[in-house]
Assembly symmetry: C2
Homo-oligomer: 585 residues x 2
Amino acid sequence: MYLEKINGPEDVKKLTVKEMSTLAEEMRTALLKRASIHGGHFGPNFGMVEATIALHYVFESPKDKIVYDVSHQTYPHKMLTGRKDAYLYEEHYDDVSGYSNPHESEHDHFIIGHTSTSVSLACGLAKARDLNGEKGNVIAVIGDGSLSGGEALEGFDYAVELEGNLIIVVNDNDMSIAENHGGLYGNLKLLRETNGQAECNLFKAMGLDYIYVNEGNDVASLIEAFSKVKDSKKPVVVHINTLKGKGYAPAEQHKEQWHYSGPFDIKTGKPLYGEFGEDYSSVTCDYLLKKMKEDKSVVAITSATPTVMGFTEDKRKEAGKQFVDVGIAEETAVAMAAGIASNGGKPVYGVYSTFVQRTYDQLSQDLCINNAPATIVTFWGSVFGMNDVTHLGLYDIPMMANIPNLVYMAPTTKEEYIAMLDWSIEQNEHPVAIRLPGGEMISDGKEVTKDFSKLNKYEVTEKGSKVAVIALGTFYQLGKEVVDDLSDKLDTQATLINPYYITGIDSELLEELKKEHDVVITIEDGILDGGFGEKISRFYGPTDMKVINFGLKKEFLDRYDVNEVLKENHLTKEQIVEDVMALMK
Amino acid sequence: MYLEKINGPEDVKKLTVKEMSTLAEEMRTALLKRASIHGGHFGPNFGMVEATIALHYVFESPKDKIVYDVSHQTYPHKMLTGRKDAYLYEEHYDDVSGYSNPHESEHDHFIIGHTSTSVSLACGLAKARDLNGEKGNVIAVIGDGSLSGGEALEGFDYAVELEGNLIIVVNDNDMSIAENHGGLYGNLKLLRETNGQAECNLFKAMGLDYIYVNEGNDVASLIEAFSKVKDSKKPVVVHINTLKGKGYAPAEQHKEQWHYSGPFDIKTGKPLYGEFGEDYSSVTCDYLLKKMKEDKSVVAITSATPTVMGFTEDKRKEAGKQFVDVGIAEETAVAMAAGIASNGGKPVYGVYSTFVQRTYDQLSQDLCINNAPATIVTFWGSVFGMNDVTHLGLYDIPMMANIPNLVYMAPTTKEEYIAMLDWSIEQNEHPVAIRLPGGEMISDGKEVTKDFSKLNKYEVTEKGSKVAVIALGTFYQLGKEVVDDLSDKLDTQATLINPYYITGIDSELLEELKKEHDVVITIEDGILDGGFGEKISRFYGPTDMKVINFGLKKEFLDRYDVNEVLKENHLTKEQIVEDVMALMK
């Protein structure tokens, strides 16, 4: 086996082209086995095996620096740069993250997990090289799906201004996570069909040199192309035509489904773990499809992650023109939602907490200054969400909830969510965002009759005295447990409050609490800095009320154990009760 | 005079082409007079006079909806849509804002002040039209300078997916605020030189139809072009070649200088008010130019607003390769800074507070997760900054200061600023941002010896008891006045603290304050929600310390009187002292 002997790029360079093709087969076998047991980003890595071998054959990493966009094609790179064990041996699978990471290897230059950043980052590496009078190639590898993101297009536009070496490998597998959306994909198609010869060429229109490689899964063709551009004195695009999921029939056929995969049976391609039941994704889709049928102006918007809203391929078909995928283009998604809402439409934009970060200015300017009554649903804004450092859902409260005019809401159950969503779609006064709780979806069947148009009206769900617990979103259930325990310990019923609104203070209720309470605590599912609890602390700052804010410390976590993190942040029932009791003495 | 009789687009339609040309002259005369007295965005409006007349002649506003990117070309539009008085009569000059505004007229559809949003917003208007089965044209007007922004490029890419009417007028005057930067401008030049015939065409590569108008300041040619695309069933770009500043010789010659202008003498073009002295812009440039000479790896970065960093044309020349203008592309600016810092360069990105909003995700992902030791300088983050609703500098603290790893600092004087800047450039541990104070620059000549690498160490500048005043950045001077007054009233010296750091708490010092203080107040120049003061309130929440946070209410202000706003927010010395004294009783 060649792969076992690859301890770094220098070992790749020793192989013949034929041996490299065998190596590619070995890498695919290892990738397949690992994915079937461990899960991960499947399709994009399978398409990039040969190109990665060729890159390491031609270039001298780490002196030549390769930057992989969004990192979804870094597994072959990791295999060839001293990290093969993490792909060969099950006991080492967790030695590496799913993302490029300089702490793992000198062959990685950034921690990257969001799309569309590689060209701009590479421009920075190249600029520093030139300022310091150093040599070496800088190579950005970007998938076609990432091209629709604003930062990527900005980077392509800027690149020519560098006036120095920069090689941009466009890995074109004709797919984003789902199918591609946007006019530029027509141009990529034209270029593929004309063997790169079409005069109308997006990359040339951006001032860049360009070469095309039709056989993007053939090591010899790739080596030839990369050798041609090596040490280029100006920016050049190498457009390579690859096959997503190459080498595994189910993945070649069902590209969207195999972009990312959990553990599965290699023979059949079937997932090892059964379908999950109802969740916030399916509930969102079911509700919206029904609503769309009643009202032609309702439209769901995604930025290339339709399934987080439950819109699988069949559901998208069902929604027809009432479903919009703008591609990886969160800024345009929010601006479009503002435009639709301003012209009599009812848009609902569903987005991961970690990706809503990509559109702060549009939230502020296009949406909130214009008070456009669009709805945003934030998924996975929770400590129980994704746990890679680049995909955390812990920061959306400080980012969004401090933008004027936005009404940011936190339901605690399915029923509250649907009631808020329905209210938001039908109202015409405010931009509204809804932050879905983390953990398992709770459905209590209770009818929600609350009038959400009375903004910032919290609800006392258990009336008591001494201690009041304001428990937001995810942590409402925890708050309830705390209240129960406190009531026992204090021999008095404590007060439980569901605040519903993240963006404002119910000052009337907070005033009222002063009468019979000595301590108010807040619990929220996100970092404390700039968060919900601090607003309560500020309110009570000049008074005798004691306040404790529970939530997460401001830091970047990575691949964490959620229970450990909860403990470290005093977010268990026992710790909270203990902290409160300490204050009562 | 025709202009006096124009009360809406219907009056434009009554004119002959010859009369429209006379109208154009009248409009320019009015614009020139108003600009000479009132100031405003000069160049972009002068170039768009004929195109605006032609748009209103051909289309039926407001049924047909025109969206103007960044609003810098809306003055002619306002003149033709019932707001001519604000351009004809000095006493009415302030009746209108400098930006498009639906509260002023049904012919405006959004409040817009940031660039690159028009196409995506127009896509939203068009989508709502189509969902509701309505008719009418949607027209986005975007200047060439705005094309480099990610949101604009996303919008162009998405547009073809609409499969319905959308007309994008690209107003190409071959200038951004300063000269354009980016490869796509080479393509615009090629298109201008080939009368729009070049095969390689950025817009066609995005899947869009395209027509070119060489005589972009000729009413008849424009009418012909717009008539051709009216009621188009699919998105089409109308690329018009205009002259920035047309009709006023000094502005035609010195385009950058005349992008925006204060009051000036029409005959000579000379500004009425003298040059300002030393300010944070000039100080920044002077420091950086000196530093660049000592160290070739120091590089200043701007996103199309070089002069805010003091880099006028001559200074840019002096800096040479050590000055980078990425064009209007804040995301790429931050990513590049991260890339440069990661590869041994020393980047300093200078940006307006209102525009740093455009790059939250890059701050978080590219910069802070990677702990890249780049420096950002935030200009005009202050209530004393720009006062149009789209250009406020009141929100950068909640947006930036809650991102993990970032060290956000607030100097109070020129000397502190330069010391921080120098420290930041030389250190290798943290991404650092520096928020310049508002109001007049204070230079006290004091040597700054503080070691800024000891993060979050506040400084007690006046040691006292009972009340401690933590006064951040701009408001340090106000804090000093408050302390002086309180010391008189309480007959005890109060404590004054310069916190320097926005992003963290000096818990040791705050603990210490408990011993001899009953009240701690914070004063900050920005909104309170998610801000600096709330962190202090949270810290003291469980204790007996009384805390009041002074700062601004979370809201969108527009064209405000700064003294009124300060009063409304209890930010005068008298009010603060009164509030504190009320608490001492």
